[in-house]
Symmetry: C2
Subunit: 623 residues, 2 copies
């Protein structure tokens, strides 16, 4: 095994990192200019009118809290799906249901989307994601591209390493980036090693109810966990998580978490853990079933890995897991088979925090160290047995054979790639074709928009023996991971079907009504090109009269059962807006605390008479 080269020391020294990271921009540019063929690239990414993209790319929106949907190869954003933050444009977080779902949070940090899987392959039904900012998990329905459920995950702080699903979506795993005292209670940092813990949550999804649920949790050592991946095929019952700061440093991690030559991969068998829970081998912690590995032994092991790894990825065949120590310039291929054998033989090198450590040499299959390739982070796969690893510091993607270790190609990207996403490149059946490099820096790639720069995505053709960059596009902040799925796997609806069981739905203008009950006013209205009807019996069917202080509920059904006919509902001056999609019933409620005259209008341009789609809310003063 090689000794880590001076880069590690240089990085730990702080400012030196910047110079290394960004010293080679000029060089990259030249290389890029030579290798790209402008004419054919333009044609390869252009999707003419009447045709559609081949793939969807679902990119995490990072600290926007949302999910970005792109078409590939056009690399155009088709839609932002609001998940963890309110979205004024669609009324997400404003209507009664989604407001409740957001639970008062106005911000989230969405990392790492995970499409639901069958037999290790995307099935295109749901997408899961976690919120590092406020420790939540969410599920998005890919029939409607809307968020269906959000749960707050107790005992955890920053489920950054998620979500990744097991091969038949039995679980999504949510290990944390930050260690905190269980329940996030107050504990001085001097108590860090004894009182702080990382926590891995195993979450299940009930497809029928479209609800998430926490099955159990595992109290891990107080380290920072950074990306997990579930096994496949022969490793299907297992999952792996990387860690850093196994130094258990409590300040200035830039230096103090970069001291040890090794951190650990946590290798666990989720079927064994589930059995332990079944057998009562857990403790109740704030209502959660918590396994403490130092007390309830079995099912969890540590694998030493090159320092401060940023990710670990399981190969499509399920035989290997590949980790990259971001401060060590190499990718390490580990063998599941070797690990299983070592576990069977109890071939351990002692314990750390009560968890058995497998011997590096017993599990390691191969180390791959491309010359001058610095800052390896994450690995994706193609259909021909090649792996693609992003190099954050040397700003490139390295293509290599994970069964032989041979490095076959390298391409510079602009600049500082974090993750990449190949076509179904983290599944059991990668498609090859395309890889998107998610670059953290744009520098001067695009027209300047001031001090705050966009991120960059680069589309790379990986169908040939040489990688070739097709296009470079700007992105709003901030995609981390993304998944690319064949377009024909997604089956959307365009119009919500009638739901006769919905007590708030009104499908005929002649059924509209305004019902008063004490100080609650319920409006059962319709929206149709191009009028609102709130109560058809009124002189003015588009007028709502309430008293100051009333609690007003607007139940609005869009009775345009026609593709792409969205209506909005806003009250001028009342800071309220929601949308109703074709066939949909939606509710918004508010306290009419301001007396006066407030125009109501449709916010989503719906027809030639959209401007005329208005009404009035009249709030009669109390005094």
């Amino acid at each position: 095994m090689k000794k880590w080269i001076p880069i590690a020391a240089g990085l730990a020294a702080g400012f030196a990192a910047a110079t290394i990271a960004f010293g080679n921009f000029g060089t990259n540019k030249t290389t890029q200019a030579v290798t790209s063929n402008t004419k054919s690239d333009a044609e390869k990414v252009y999707v003419p009118y009447g045709q559609k993209d081949e793939y969807y790319l679902f990119a995490s929106g990072g600290h926007s809290g949302q999910l970005f949907v792109y078409g590939v190869p056009s690399m155009r954003e088709i839609r932002t799906i609001p998940v963890f933050s309110p979205d004024p444009a669609t009324g997400y977080g404003f209507d009664t249901e989604t407001k409740k779902m957001l639970g008062g949070y106005t911000w989230g940090d969405l990392h790492h989307p995970a499409i639901s899987e069958t037999n290790g392959n995307y099935n295109g039904k749901y997408l899961f994601a976690t919120d590092v900012g406020n420790s939540r998990a969410a599920v998005v329905d890919l029939k409607t591209f809307t968020t269906k459920d959000i749960i707050k995950v107790p005992n955890t702080s920053g489920p950054h390493c998620a979500a990744f699903v097991t091969q038949n979506t039995e679980y999504l795993f949510l290990p944390t980036r930050f260690a905190v005292p269980l329940g996030q209670e107050y504990q001085p940092l001097d108590q860090y090693s004894t009182k702080y813990r990382g926590v891995m949550s195993a979450v299940t999804f009930d497809e029928k109810k479209e609800k998430l649920n926490i099955a159990y949790q595992v109290a891990l050592p107080p380290w920072n966990y950074d990306l997990s991946d579930a096994g496949k095929k022969e490793s299907g019952d297992w999952a792996v998580i990387t860690s850093y700061n196994t130094e258990e440093a409590t300040t200035t991690l830039e230096i103090n978490a970069s001291q040890a030559d090794r951190d650990y991969i946590v290798l666990f068998n989720w079927k064994e853990l589930a059995q332990m829970v079944k057998d009562g081998k857990y403790e109740d912690v704030n209502g959660q079933k918590m396994i403490f590995p130092e007390k309830q032994k079995g099912g969890i092991y540590l694998v030493p890995v090159a320092k401060s790894p940023h990710g670990v990825d399981v190969s499509p065949d399920g035989k290997y897991f590949i980790a990259s120590g971001k401060l060590a310039p190499l990718m390490t291929v580990f063998s599941f088979e070797k690990a299983f054998k070592a576990i069977e033989n109890k071939d351990f090198a002692g314990e750390r925090n009560g968890i058995p450590i497998l011997k590096y040499k017993s599990v390691m299959e191969r180390e791959v160290n491309p010359e001058n390739a610095l800052g390896p982070l994450h690995t994706q796969f193609d259909d021909k047995g090649f792996a693609y690893t992003t190099m954050f510091i040397s700003s490139e993607v390295v293509k290599w054979n994970y069964k032989t270790g041979e490095v076959v190609d390298r391409v510079p990207v602009q600049y500082a790639p974090g993750h990449s996403a190949a076509a179904e490149g983290d599944t059991a059946s990668p498609q090859g074709h395309y890889l998107v490099s998610l670059n953290k820096m744009a520098k001067d790639n695009f027209l300047s928009v001031g001090p705050s720069h966009p991120e960059t995505m680069q589309l790379i053709d990986i169908s040939g023996s040489k990688m070739h960059i097709l296009d470079t596009v700007p992105v709003n902040p901030e995609p981390h991971y993304a998944q690319m799925i064949k377009a024909d796997k997604i089956h959307t609806i365009n119009v919500y079907p009638k739901d006769p069981s919905n007590p708030f739905a009104v499908y005929k203008q002649s059924d509209t009504k305004i019902v008063r009950n004490g100080n609650e006013v319920h409006v059962y209205g319709t929206a149709v090109r191009s009028r609102f009807t709130f109560d058809h019996t009124q002189k003015r069917p588009d007028e709502i009269d309430v008293n100051q202080g009333d609690h007003v509920f607007i139940h609005l059904t869009n009775i345009d059962f026609d593709e792409d006919i969205t209506h909005g509902f806003a009250i001028n001056g009342y800071n309220l807006n929601m949308e109703v999609q074709p066939g949909q019933t939606n509710t918004i409620d508010f306290i009419a605390d301001k007396a006066g005259t407030y125009p109501i209008y449709c916010t989503n341009f719906c027809s030639a008479l959209h401007q005329e789609m208005t009404g009035y809310l009249l709030v009669k003063p109390n005094n």
Copy 2:
């Protein structure tokens, strides 16, 4: 003058509108397929790595409340600028200053951006916009692409017809879409004609202070105003506003505001109005100087126009204003010179609501009625004397000579265009080159993202004698108007300069400190790749200790004076995030009401050791 054809009646009948509006999708597709040349189109819109777009396109984000910045011809969104709604991604509305600027509003409806002008041409310095949802106006600094000031505009409800600036940015005019009682007080709708008013606000901008101010307001009749435009050159002291619902209908406007054959353009001389204010010819209404045209005569006139016009646009030479009655299938060219003569001669056809009416025949220069072109809305101009008008219902752009009335070309668009934006196409010096059609419907243009569809923008090459569609791209909801400006007119900064006068700025780690003052805690900290320093004298410089209930102010300075090195600042579980751009000092404040242990982390990926850029907030419990 032609009699309006049956379309008007058909539209008024409600559901028929849908059929007319969307009946011809199939036809459009076929036409489009025949005329487009895929190969050259791809090359024309492709901006290869190392090159940049030729134009910025600033598109209103509609009910997102934000502004979208695109590059042309790539049609890629480079940045969303938050204006009227909070933006979790950039911390806009979360940090102390922007939170105050938003004034508690969580939503806005941004229509019609207006770039500041010198001699009728964009000067690239500022951009103005209004909020139809909550009646506000804002200014964006194009050096930093950030919002600098927002004002609430009293007495107004929905300044939809704004902003448009006069030729040297003396004023921006904000006429309202909705009529309400002045001050938005409670008044039954039966009092509509006597108690409700539209209001036009004249707003000035102090460039030195970067502050907006309301100079005066005009109480207009209770009609709906829909888009204004300022004069140029010989008409430079004048401005025009379209209106609809001069019927003064109070319900089901779809039908009732479509009765009269004519509505009015309001023509006003803003210098005369300013003089009236100077002469004290106004009344104080809720602190605003309000001109009542029925009492203080002069300076305002009405011009009859084809029914329910959606827009009015002044020609680049300042000689004409062109209005399109959206329910009348024609564009009408009016002559400023003729209007001035009629005013001079008092050639009036009586008054309406106390305002003199000019005779249609005295002011009308020409009617242009392209065969079967339905739903004309808005007009842009090129450098060769041609006008381009969007047809909402027949889904096309019509190119015509506004001096002769000759229709020279028509191109179908997909589908239902509202506005369009030509290169500097509403200025005194249009550039020709490109026109972007802002289409309201996408239907099946793109991969489906469920019931809620994106809008569409189409880039049209207008440099030749025939218009040619180059590209069709999806857009998040919902651009209305846009302006396209030559890239070299925008001069941004990349790094905020040091500001020694800023009491919250700290430029050296050795100057960081935490100051306690009663229950206020002020943190003067720095962010630099890759560490936070809150108080360099502490054992842990990246720890913040407070007591439960403290009011905590984090003043954070990004001391990476380096392009594209943004740092974020989030507190896990505390629903807080902000960004600091290179060189910038930003403050976030909150009440530490939850006791416990909360990790702090950098949200914007900044270096190879970004993950290590963390700290802790420890909130000691009260009891």
